[in-house]
């Protein structure tokens, strides 16, 4: 009985911490859980979606996610590492001796430029 009581107390404390954490994340207020965003989750990504790019993503995955030509990022970022495209943005940052945030920003910028050009081709 004592064990059960202790377990229940632990559960209540765990839930309380989780609720505070979720409120801090403003999870309930997040716009991204709107139905329209949910439906977009399987559609084509646009220049507005480059904020999804994070350091754990590989170039191969980013190419597929944003439907980029395989060598576009290699050329635009001058990536000489033979591991491309099977290397993460984090690994690229380490190889380039830059910060992860800078590399994510560089990749995001390159992807955004490509998508904008695709959406507004020069006549």
């Amino acid at each position: 009985m004592i064990l059960l009581s202790i377990a229940l107390v632990v559960l209540v404390v765990f839930f309380a911490i989780a609720i505070v954490h979720l409120k801090r994340l403003e999870f309930i207020d997040q716009q991204r859980v709107e139905v329209s965003d949910f439906l977009r989750s399987h559609g084509s990504l646009t220049a507005d979606d480059v904020s999804l790019i994070t350091s754990w993503m590989t170039f191969d995955y980013i190419n597929r996610l944003f439907k980029l030509p395989e060598d576009y990022l290699k050329t635009s970022l001058s990536v000489s590492d033979s591991r491309y495209p099977q290397m993460s943005v984090y690994a690229y940052a380490k190889a380039s001796h830059t910060s992860t945030a800078t590399s994510v920003a560089e990749v995001s910028s390159a992807v955004r430029d490509y998508l904008i050009k695709q959406a507004n081709p020069v006549q």
């Binding site: 979720l22 994340l25 989750s41 590989t58 597929r64």
Partner: protein, 199 residues
């Protein structure tokens, strides 16, 4: 997102099904890896065409089952020696849990598949107490099919917004695991109470 999960996801993207197998196998054995969030991500990657969801499911199920079986066979072979050396058999909780396992191996094995790290403990104990292989492997396979199926398909549905839900999903997984632990502890308590004549 934690750095461990980020690292695992990078390896999964580079080494694909081999990485899913290795990490899932390790987690099934005993390693505290965030496999719920990882499989959620793999489900999302499948929706983007980076993985095949059925192949991912097959890899997740097989690695889960093999990891559980490895624990079971390890203690079946060496369990008595290890437990006696560590004096774990002198713990009252261990004795009660062992009795629960002997009494209802299939139910305990099945329900522990959804209880996080408890599943590894049950695997090790099942081998130690000599639960028959069929009584262990059948509920193990059933549970190991259900859990990754749910996670992978939730990830598939969530798509690119899987990371928004990974925190809440991890919370839900923890709630389910806690509920299973409480359920098993309640059964142990009820058996103890019956033996003492208070029920």
């Amino acid at each position: 997102m934690g750095s461990l999960l980020s690292s695992i996801l990078s390896y999964v993207l580079v080494y694909r099904y081999a990485a899913i197998f290795v990490f899932n196998f390790g987690a099934a054995m005993i390693l505290p890896l965030p496999m719920s969030a990882t499989l959620l991500a793999v489900g999302a990657f499948s929706s983007q065409g980076y993985f095949n969801i059925w192949e991912s499911l097959a890899v997740a199920v097989s690695s889960n089952v093999l990891g559980d079986l490895a624990d079971y066979l390890l203690t079946r072979r060496y369990g008595a020696t290890i437990i006696r050396k560590l004096k774990i058999d002198q713990s009252r909780f261990f004795v009660q849990f062992e009795e629960e396992l002997r009494h209802d191996a299939a139910g305990t094995v099945f329900s522990s598949r959804f209880a996080g790290s408890l599943s590894s403990v049950v695997n090790l104990l099942a081998g130690f107490v000599g639960v028959p292989l069929l009584s262990f492997i059948i509920p193990d396979i059933i549970g190991d099919v259900i859990e990754p199926t749910v996670i992978l398909f939730v990830g598939y549905i969530l798509g690119i917004y899987w990371s928004n839900a990974s925190d809440i999903f991890t919370l839900l997984a923890a709630v389910v695991a806690t509920a299973v632990v409480l359920f098993v502890m309640f059964r142990i308590y009820r058996r103890m109470a019956r033996r003492n004549g208070s029920l």
